[in-house]
């Protein structure tokens, strides 16, 4: 079958399929769950074929045009970077859907939940394969709507306020970004990103687009909606933090600023400072907070800074490191949030001052949690080590050792707040009753922890693919 078939399938199977989930819910609960899992798994399997095609192809990329109205063509851009990000997102998304079966089983509105989750994954697929700025924006907003519904999933008035806040901030960013796109259109007369490579872009357009990216990827000062989104079910927060939502911004950054445009000089000075400062602020905040999900969310904000930094370097090692970071952070952070879900499920608490000594009652969750925090800190043999090391090396290569040092200081702070969290929950005096999660839930977090380890041990496979992605991305502007 053709590459375009797999690409269209990857985007539209989850998006259109999600609309059928409520219908499946009319048949039975278990059929609906099964159908949601099938959609999520298929969304993961289809990009595998794309990976095969990309690796076997003699060209760097596949571009497919589907004309709609003039200048608004639906364009699919398939290269190793988009396939890499789609594989990571869909894989974690599939695991999260699987985990949801037990986690969400006691809640109401499950049809809506599964529909939104699968559409969320689909919107990410659409975004990564979009070769048109306007469709990128479209999928961007579909993801925002899904996340808005999911954050307020429990319908508590406070949760709805938080969901509105998240939506308004990311929507504000997206609209500002759209103005940036329009500015670019004004110069290039096209929304097709493959036709605007190496076009000089004004500083204002960069600024406007960056606001959109920073708001979506929760970077200071547009980050505070992300910790607030912790009111959503743990599975959803995993999606928001690990696999999909916050990766949208960094993906767009890489696609536009590594592949398409050359950033003006002043932004080359400002961006690394801004993203590392964002990492530092959120690491500091994580050391003060007590809520598990808020700490993990702030940790996401902190780690996103490294991904931006990696892509900013525009060096092969830095960009490959940024791409690997998406994978390693995605796996580890999903593991951490799903562990947080098990803890919340088992104890009914999220405040580390009310928790403690749970290692004995939740040994598998504790071990998975520890493995995932080691990966996030960047300790070998876990995969997080390689991605962080490559980003730091790339930053030094780009001539900013001071920023690299700041990055390492943030890594030290990461170790401190994550161990504070780990010990607050699992070590010390047993303050509350807790029980291990269901077999399926524990199996998923163990898989994520083991994968974090295997990604480090078999880094050769992932690293070489990330390197190919980086080379292809950077070739765009060279």
């Amino acid at each position: 079958m053709e590459t375009s078939f797999f690409a269209l399938g990857t985007v539209f199977v989850p998006i259109l399929g999600s609309l059928t989930i409520p219908l499946a819910g009319l048949v039975s609960k278990s059929f609906r769950n099964f159908w949601a899992v099938v959609l999520a798994v298929v969304t993961f399997i289809l990009p595998l074929f794309l990976m095969r095609d990309v690796l076997q192809a003699s060209t760097d990329k596949f571009i497919f045009y589907y004309p709609t109205i003039p200048n608004f063509d639906f364009i699919l851009l398939i290269d190793s970077f988009s396939v890499f990000v789609s594989l990571v997102s869909s894989f974690i998304g599939a695991l999260i859907v699987l985990y949801s079966i037990d986690y969400i089983s006691h809640n109401e509105n499950q049809n809506e939940y599964y529909m939104m989750v699968v559409m969320f994954i689909g919107s990410m697929m659409g975004l990564v394969f979009s070769g048109s700025l306007i469709f990128m924006y479209l999928f961007w907003e579909i993801a925002a709507i899904c996340s808005w519904r999911l954050i307020g999933f429990y319908r508590h008035p406070l949760h709805i306020v938080k969901a509105d806040k998240s939506f308004l901030i990311t929507f504000f960013g997206a609209v500002v970004m759209l103005f940036g796109f329009i500015q670019i259109y004004d110069c290039t007369h096209t929304f097709n990103i493959t036709m605007m490579q190496n076009v000089p872009v004004s500083s204002l357009a960069i600024f406007l687009i960056l606001i959109g990216m920073f708001s979506k990827s929760a970077t200071f000062p547009l980050h505070t909606w992300l910790p607030d989104a912790g009111v959503a079910p743990s599975t959803v927060t995993s999606l928001l933090h690990a696999a999909v939502l916050v990766k949208i911004g960094v993906y767009a950054y890489a696609r536009l600023f590594c592949y398409t445009f050359n950033i003006p000089g002043e932004w080359n000075i400002a961006i690394p400072v801004l993203v590392m400062f964002s990492s530092l602020v959120s690491a500091g905040a994580a050391l003060v907070e007590y809520d598990i999900k808020r700490i993990l969310a702030l940790s996401t904000v902190s780690q996103i800074g490294y991904i931006f930094l990696g892509f900013w370097t525009k060096t092969i090692i830095g960009v490959a490191g940024g791409a690997l970071f998406i994978l390693m952070h995605g796996l580890a952070k999903a593991g951490l949030f799903l562990c947080a879900g098990i803890i919340e499920h088992g104890t009914g608490k999220r405040d580390i001052r009310e928790l403690g000594g749970l290692f004995k009652s939740m040994p598998f969750t504790a071990i998975s949690f520890l493995a995932c925090i080691l990966s996030v800190i960047g300790i070998p043999p876990f995969g997080g080590f390689f991605s962080k090391f490559m980003v730091i090396s790339g930053t030094v290569e780009a001539g900013r050792p001071g920023i690299a040092f700041m990055g390492l200081m943030v890594a030290v702070m990461t170790a401190i707040y994550l161990f504070r969290l780990f010990h607050g929950v699992f070590a010390g005096e047993n303050k509350t009753y807790g029980h291990e999660g269901s077999k399926l839930m524990v199996a998923i977090v163990l898989i994520l922890a083991i994968l974090s380890l295997l990604c480090g041990v078999f880094i050769g496979i992932f690293g070489s693919f990330a390197e190919i992605s980086a080379c292809q991305l950077l070739r765009g502007i060279r």
Partner: protein
């Protein structure tokens, strides 16, 4: 087997064996212990095969086309590898004999994995491979310390992780800068001159190496771990393995990665760090009243001699520093094991609660005394030879101040070991310790072997010294063993005078404290200005971790309220509140009145029309 693949065995096999150890069920713990000992013995034999095989190497492309996975059993690497497995074997025997030790399964697993990772670190022939194994040791360090039964064990585990982790992160940055200069992550063929960015890289790498070895100022987790972690861990990691690794890397940095010339800033800087480590740590050791804490400060202090020796940039000093690394690993392990043997039988390591144990624990006592004499640098033991070489190197470098620091260290080391040995094995016998008997053979065997090595390496220093001189590149061949035990020179004379002074100091303190040996150091402790410094040190004013955590805590609060919460406050006000108000005002105009709606539509159409006409 292909000899090049043999190089993987000391790395991969122990990790697999460690996992198997974990999987062996609790009711088969004897089999597990035997298995662990056999593993260390077999891999030790493999290390010997590698040692005699010469330069074995393996290279393949790793995760990026410009990055290689390279292993090489170079001369120094093979030498260190052999000792890693020697110590692992002895500690596995020691630990396995303590069958009641409830965390034995974890300990043996961590021991094997640690030895495998340490082997990987010394066999690495590229910076990234080195980092991979080097940093992975953080995990086993954390797990080992957390094994302790004290309520502070976990806290100390984090402290050790953060402090050593900080040093490791410095090493990462140092390596990245080195790569920026040379363009390759492989170990260089030609060393760099220390200037500009290379100088910064050198400093960061030295922090990484000396931090792992336990030098100042990143040492403060070691005394805490002495109390909160199992004593066999102290004998294994801070006592021997981390010294081997840290000093191995420091040697590579100073000889292979950078060029250090005697008298250069780098040389003086390193010697200063070494001298401060010697004097400050041994001063702290002197006043300790718990034998494990006392030993832990000596574990730090002795690193100072190694750094001074290597920092001289002079063959005698470098070889002396490396020999001291080996000697320290030998006697420090034995001393910790001795302390462990005493703790096992008496359930305490508090010097005040101990006394007169020599008759009841003669073998432990003799081993402890021999090793105490060796660490104090008594002639003709191994410590004497290596310390004298370091002092000669310091004198030859022209900076006598560093030799003076070594002599001060010698005085305080001997004084503190006189206090420790006197308090534990001599003096008044405690009532509750009268039934105490010596430990079993498996516990004594490693101590006896290590004590004998102290004597052997002193009397026959030719063997280790030739191995060391053959393992490093210091220009022409030197035979330091010829004059190793020579006492008729000025430096040896001063050393002997220092030792006599230390003995008199101990005797004076002992008499002044009413013949209570554990209070013998109080005469120094209570000196006017010194007392204040000691009090500040006891309050952890100089503890980098404690002060660093306070700083990070304050910084975090400032960042949290200054940036995170303040920006959120703006959103809450601007987004949520204004949004709520806008919605409520819009609600107020929706009254369900059709005429009103038509009016709104009409007004809207007029506004849009005007807008379109204008623009």
């Amino acid at each position: 087997m292909n000899v090049n693949l043999l190089i993987f065995l000391p790395i991969v096999a122990p990790v697999i064996c460690g996992i198997l150890c974990w999987l062996i069920p609790e009711h088969m713990k004897k089999i597990r212990s035997i298995f662990a000992v056999l593993c260390t013995m077999t891999i030790g034999w493999v290390s010997w095969k590698i040692f005699v095989s010469g330069n074995v190497s393996f290279t393949t492309t790793w995760f990026i086309s410009t990055i290689n996975f390279s292993l090489k059993a170079g001369d120094l690497s093979r030498f260190i590898l052999l000792w890693i497995w020697g110590f692992s074997f002895l500690i596995s025997i020691y630990v396995s004999s303590r069958m009641y030790f409830e965390r034995l399964r974890e300990f043996l697993t961590y021991l094997l994995i640690t030895a495998g990772l340490a082997s990987g670190a010394v066999l690495a022939d590229s910076f990234i491979v080195l980092l991979f194994f080097w940093e992975a040791l953080l995990i086993t360090l954390y797990l080992f310390v957390a094994l302790g039964s004290s309520e502070n064990s976990v806290r100390t585990a984090v402290k050790s992780f953060v402090l050593v982790g900080f040093c490791d992160f410095c090493l990462i940055l140092g390596i990245a800068l080195y790569w920026k200069i040379t363009g390759s992550f492989d170990f260089p063929v030609h060393p760099l001159c220390i200037k500009g960015m290379a100088g910064l890289s050198f400093i960061l790498m030295v922090i990484g190496a000396t931090g792992k070895a336990g030098a100042l100022p990143f040492h403060t987790w070691i005394p805490d771990a002495a109390i909160d972690a199992p004593v066999s861990f102290m004998a294994y990691l801070p006592g021997s393995l981390e010294k081997l690794l840290g000093i191995y890397l420091l040697t590579r940095i100073c000889l292979d990665f950078f060029t250090i010339t005697p008298g250069s800033m780098a040389s003086i800087g390193l010697m200063t760090l070494g001298a401060l480590t010697i004097v400050i740590a041994v001063s702290m050791a002197l006043i300790q009243k718990d034998v494990k804490r006392l030993l832990s400060y000596h574990a730090i202090s002795q690193v100072g001699y190694m750094i001074v020796g290597i920092g001289t940039g002079i063959p005698a000093g470098i070889v002396g520093g490396l020999f001291h690394m080996l000697n320290n690993a030998v006697y420090k392990s034995a001393l910790f094991l001795g302390a462990g043997s005493v703790e096992l039988k008496t359930k305490t390591t508090d010097l005040k609660s101990l006394g007169g144990l020599y008759n009841q624990m003669p073998v432990t006592g003799i081993c402890f005394l021999i090793c105490s004499a060796a660490i104090s640098g008594l002639w003709p033991l191994n410590g004497y030879v290596s310390k004298e070489m370091v002092i000669h190197g310091a004198l030859e470098s022209g900076y006598k101040i560093f030799a003076v620091a070594s002599w001060i260290g010698a005085i305080l080391t001997f004084a503190s070991f006189l206090k420790a040995s006197h308090s534990i094995f001599f003096g008044e016998k405690k009532e509750n310790l009268k039934e105490v008997k010596d430990s079993n053979v498996a516990i004594l065997f490693p101590m006896i072997l290590l004590a004998l090595l102290c004597i052997f390496f002193g009397l026959y220093s030719k063997l280790p010294l030739n191995m060391i001189t053959g393992a490093i590149n210091i220009g022409q061949h030197h035979d330091f063993s010829e004059h190793a035990l020579n006492i008729f020179n000025m430096a040896s004379g001063i050393t002997f005078a220092c030792l006599i002074f230390a003995f008199l100091l101990h005797r004076y303190g002992w008499l002044k404290a009413g013949k209570k040996a554990y209070l013998a150091s109080e005469v120094v402790h209570n000196l006017p200005a010194i007392k204040t410094l000691y009090n500040l040190a006891e309050k952890r004013v100089f503890d980098l971790y404690v002060q660093g955590m306070k700083l990070i805590g304050a910084l975090s609060i400032a960042l949290y309220y200054g940036f995170d919460r303040s920006s959120d406050w703006i959103y809450e006000k601007a987004v949520v509140n204004s949004g709520t108000r806008a919605i409520s005002s819009l609600r107020s105009v929706h009254r369900g009145n059709a005429t009103q709606y038509v009016t709104w539509i009409f007004v809207g159409v007029v506004i849009v029309t005007i807008f379109m006409l204008i623009f």
